[in-house]
Every structure is written in structure tokens, then in C-alpha cells.
Symmetry: C2
Subunit: 342 residues, 2 copies
DNA sequence: CAGCCTAGTGTTAACGCTCACATCATCAGC
DNA sequence: GCTGATGATGTGAGCGTTAACACTAGGCTG
């Protein structure tokens, strides 16, 4: 018979074994690539597998092997370019390593939510967890994760107690600020991200350090929340300040808002004010003017955190192991220029 | 003893049973909320669960109950605003229903990739699958899904053979075009999405229909690929055409590129040309000028597809059941105005 | 040619849970 | 006070797989 029998009940290993005329264990060996099977037998088993459209039962396999082959990812704000890219990078790396990825998107980021998500994932039977924890609150929750659960943090700072992978935000900020200083600007203003985000803090830190090292005045920092709207609001504040010639904005969305605000005020970029953003979202190249920005390799972060988690799962425990940080790069476009000397 | 014993091996149900002085079955009953347990006994069991930090083994439970409590989502381009939002909506709805979500992000969209992803998810033991299939190729693959697997398609068109949920793209396009016609424009040009995307096709369809109904000339369609870059390129083409006063762009990113191209050509928006986008990405409000666009409720789509899948899982099979389409709305901003009569 | 290794295969016992059923009080009803 | 329903619990049998070990047949060693 060529046609597969209409399966009222999905085939199990024993069915395959019977059809192939072997024991279920031999089927198992074939499926798991054991070398101890005669090629001819293997062939027969595979044919049976095919004919019955047999698919191994993940639960049964997981029950005895104690591994589900699924990893959990806890993240927040997955609509934002950064988190979405990181998530994608992780998923890719996981798939390449033969793992599935189960996600848990947080609505709010606080200790309780993070722990709840981790519990839920653990209850699903994931083998390990990657937590994208760019906020202080999320990072703080990492200490209370279910014990015995392999976990890696992304963008969680050094002191989370977990192995982690991240982008070197401080260096990124330095790149941006140094570029502006080298163009001849006396100092650089900063529109920052929300204070509870570690990335925002690090960028502030890099900005301040670079300014101080250059002996430049450190202007008051302007707060934002990553949104274009907050960048727009910051623009209004900046326009009111005399003598502003250069601004380092903590992300590209806020840069977009700032660009609009300045445009409305009749302030030209880069003629009157130079702007450097952060992230290099796909739209950055098509803003008015095209935005000079700092590019983060999210994919690489995903890949590294995955690699670290896999190492953990392989038993090579590395308490507090910190992978080398991914170094961002400056992408030069048209939003920066030397200051006009009046 | 108050402290939890240092668990060398995670506690199992029998451990809890022993500590509580009951049988493992009673523990199971408590955990599954059976009413047939004396409150006092329940209390004792819960205390034991707590003390041992017992967490039910998902595999064992799934093996016998034949349900994993995890749903799979196949998607593509999760960095784009639309897919990312849909994914988030699905995840939210799934969590609300007590399900976990396992994702599979496609690198390429073709029949083989979709099937491979579905197989992988099935192999992970998911209870059902939601496929975000806005492309023809993906939709075509839906016919060959593993049989017996509950599946729902999102944005897959009517004829995928699967129950589906989607946004009424045709109506969305009509909204945009009618708005421009009502402003007094003689006709409306269209920058379309990639031809293999169903959403792109439907928007073209809505655009053409509305034009024809109004007795307006249907200008040649301009092709794009969703990216700001392609919008920019289209802008160059448009600028070369005399008499263009209104453009309906198939998404907001392309609108951004178009905006830049027009700006560079000295063409003012909306004074010289009116533009309507599609999606209402968060940045739309902060473009130059703020973009009038069509808003899609991705969250609602996620919620509906989830609801449909849950209905399927509950056995209420609805072959080819199509949920009512989500109707998009027009968001008026500053990129449209009546044409200047010269 | 006894003894032993090895390749190839089968047998049996878990894994941790839920389901079906058995058990055993308790209490209403006559 | 005996029967039978009902509530509360325990017992045993799987679920479909992998791990551990047992077994057989042949080829090699000495």
C-alpha cells in the first residue's frame, strides 16, 4: 500500500517498530542517530516513519530525558526596534542550536512581573531562560529567579548576579560625543532615556565622561522616554536655550521628534545644530536630514547571550560570567557638521 | 523545620504527598482545583507544595493529558511594526487564556520554510499554531500543514483553507483614497507594497476601486518594498511626473522616505502634494509634516486569531471559519490638504 | 577451539503525572 | 439497624519515550 493509512490516532514509536519489524528501541536508536544500527535496518525504520507520518512525542521524550529543547525569553517592549532585534537574534541563534523559543512579553517591568514570567516559563518546562532586562527593576528581579534554572541576562548591567551579554553603551556614547567635539563644538547637550533604564544611564555616563575629559562644560541633561513625542518636547526646551550647537540624543525615535521640533522653530540641522542619535533604526537613513547615529549590533548580542546560555546548559557553569561587551559603531550621515562660528 | 530542605533533586508529586500525609492523587486534585478535597487537606497540601518549592513537571503532565499548554506562532519580519504588534497581541491573548507562546521567525518566506517551521513547532509539542502569513507564498503553504494540527492564519486571505483573522485592507485603502478625493484632488497616486504580500494587493485593490467608482483616472502604480528606502526611490519617480497632487502610500515607512525625497526636490507637503500613509506607526505623528495615515488595530487581530484558535482547540471545529475582519480607521494629521488650483 | 570482544538488536524499567476505578467512612431514609 | 447514596481519599494502570542492561551471532585472539 502506498497511501498512508488514515490515522485515527497518531502513530507512536511502537507502531513504527511493528511496521519495520524491529523493536521500539531500535526505532529510538535510528531517530537519535545511534551508530549501532545496520544501514539496512535504519532504512527500513525510516521508511516506516515516513509511511506512518510518525512524529516523536515531545512530552514523552522530555519526560525521560529531562530536557524540553525549548528556551524561554522574557522581554519587554518588543515593538521597539532594539528589543525586537535582540529577540530576533536570540531566536535565530536558538534555532541554529536546535532549540525552540518560548516568549513572555512583560506588560510592566517590575520585580513581580519578571518573576511571574520566569515562573510561567519554568512551568512550561523550558531548559533555560534569557532575560532582556534593560531596566533596573528587571535586573533587580534576577536575584530571585527559580533556583536551579539556567538563566542569562541581556543588557542587565554587571551586577545582576547572572551571566550576561550586552552592548557597551558607554563606548557608544563616547563615540557620539567625541565625534561632535572633534567637529569643533564647544560642548554637547544630551537628551537622555528614562532614568530606570540601564542603557540610558550608561549613555549618560559616557556622555558626561567624554565631556569632562575634554574639559568641556557639562550642560544640564534633558530627560526623555525613548518616544518621538518626548524628543519633540525636548526640542522645545532646547530651542529656548541659546548657544546650543550639538545634541547627542539617546535614541533615534527621540531624534526624529527633535528634528521635527527644530524644524518648526526654523532651526536647521546640521547648519545650526548637529544631532547624533543612537540605535540606527532602518528609518534613520531617511530622516530629514539623514541621521548620524550609533549602531548597535543586536543580532550579535542575541547570538552571544545564546552562546552563553548553551554553555551553561552544557554544565560549564560560569557564575556571574560576563561575555565581552559588543562594541557599537558610529554611522556618519548628514545630521552633523562643524558649528557655525558667529 | 521551617527552611526548605536543600533540594538536590527537585521535588515531585510523591514528595509533596508524603510531606502532607496524603496520596499523590490528592495532591494532583488540589493542584487541578478539584472540589472533592476537604479544605483542611487542601491547606496541608498547599503548605507542603510551598515548603518543597514543588513545581509540576510540564512534560509528565503533558504526556498524559496530551496538551502542552503552549501555542506556536510562525511569523516573519518581526522587526516591522505590524508583525511585531500582531505578535504582541497574540502573546497577550494567549497568556490571558493560560497558554504559553513559542515562536518561530522565518528568515525567508516560502512554502518550504513555513512547513519546516510548522514541523518544528509541532515537534515541540505545541497544541496549536497561529501563522502570520501576509505573503502569498506563506498562505500557499497552509494547505500542507501537518494534519490534525489546529491552526489559524492571520492576514492570509480568504482562501487559505484555514480559519483566519485579518484587517480589512481594502476598506483601509478606500478610507485613505476617499479622504484625498473629498479634499478635491482629481486623482490619487499609489506607492504599493511588494506584490507578493496580500496586504499590498488588497490596498491596491481598494485604491483602484475607489478611484474607479469616483470616475477618476487610475494612474500607474508605483512599486515599493515597505522600506523607507523604496519610498525615497518612489519619490524621485513621482517628482518627475507633472500634476501629481495626492499620493496614497501603502505604509508609513515608505511615506517617510517619500517625505524626504519630496523635501529634497523642494516639493512641499501638504501644500504641493498630499500624502496618506498606512499603519500609524508611533513615529507617524512626528514626521515632517505629521502623517495622516490609516490605523490598524493589530492588538485586536491578535486577540481574534487567538480566540479562534482557542475555539478550535475546544473542539468547536470551524473549517474555513473566517472571523469578521477588523476595520481600520483614518487618522487625520497634517500631510493632507486640498490641492492648490493653478 | 575455548574465550572474548563487538556489532546489532531486544527487554525491562523508569520518568512524573492523570484517569478510571476501588475503597471507606458518613449520613439520610425507611 | 440495614441499604444506598455521597464525599473524601487511595490504588493501579498507563501515557510514549530513553536508559540500562541482556542477549545473540559472528570474528578474532591465543
Amino acid at each position: 500500500m502506498t497511501a498512508a493509512p488514515k490515522a485515527e490516532r497518531p502513530a507512536v514509536m511502537t507502531d513504527v517498530a511493528r511496521l519495520a519489524g524491529v523493536s521500539h528501541q531500535t526505532v529510538s536508536r535510528v531517530l537519535n542517530g545511534s551508530p549501532r544500527v545496520r544501514p539496512e535496518t535504519r532504512e527500513r525504520v525510516l521508511r516506516a516513519v515516513d509511511e506512518l507520518e510518525y512524529r516523536p512525542n515531545a512530552m514523552a521524550r522530555g519526560l525521560v530525558s529531562r530536557r524540553s529543547g525549548v528556551l524561554g525569553v522574557i522581554s519587554f517592549d518588543t515593538i521597539l526596534y532594539g528589543p525586537a532585534s535582540t529577540l530576533l537574534g536570540i531566536e535565530r541563534a536558538a534555532r541554529a542550536a536546535g532549540y525552540g523559543v518560548s516568549i513572555s512579553a512583560l506588560e510592566r517591568v517590575d520585580r513581580a512581573s519578571v518573576l511571574e514570567a520566569a515562573e510561567a516559563l519554568a512551568g512550561q518546562g523550558v531548559d533555560g531562560i534569557i532575560i532582556i532586562a534593560p531596566q533596573m527593576a528587571a535586573a533587580a528581579a534576577l536575584y530571585n529567579l527559580p533556583k536551579g534554572m539556567a538563566a542569562v541576562a541581556v543588557e542587565a548591567g554587571q551586577d545582576s548576579g547572572l551571566p550576561s551579554a550586552s552592548v557597551d553603551q558607554v563606548t557608544g556614547a563616547r563615540l557620539a560625543v567625541r565625534h561632535l567635539l572633534e567637529l569643533g563644538h564647544d560642548t554637547v547637550w544630551h537628551i537622555a532615556g528614562p532614568g530606570d533604564w540601564l542603557e540610558a544611564r550608561d549613555r549618560i555616563e559616557g556622555w558626561r565622561q567624554t565631556l569632562l575629559e575634554a574639559g568641556a562644560v557639562v550642560p544640564p541633561m534633558i530627560g526623555g522616554d525613548w518616544s518621538a513625542r518626548s524628543g519633540y518636547a525636548a526640542g522645545a526646551a532646547l530651542a529656548a536655550q541659546p548657544g546650543v550647537t550639538a545634541v547627542f540624543v539617546a535614541n533615534d525615535q527621540m531624534s526624529l521628534g527633535l528634528l521635527r521640533a527644530l524644524h518648526e522653530q526654523g532651526i536647521r540641522v546640521p547648519d545650526d545644530i548637529s544631532i547624533v542619535g543612537f540605535d540606527d533604526i532602518p528609518e534613520a537613513e531617511f530622516m530629514l536630514p539623514p541621521l548620524t547615529t550609533v549602531r548597535q549590533d543586536f543580532d550579535e548580542v542575541g547570538r552571544r547571550s545564546m552562546a552563553t546560555l548553551l554553555r551553561l546548559l552544557d554544565g560549564a557553569a560560569g557564575e556571574g560570567e560576563v561575555a565581552a561587551q559588543v562594541v557599537p559603531t558610529l554611522v556618519l550621515r548628514a545630521s552633523t557638521a562643524p558649528p557655525r562660528r558667529g
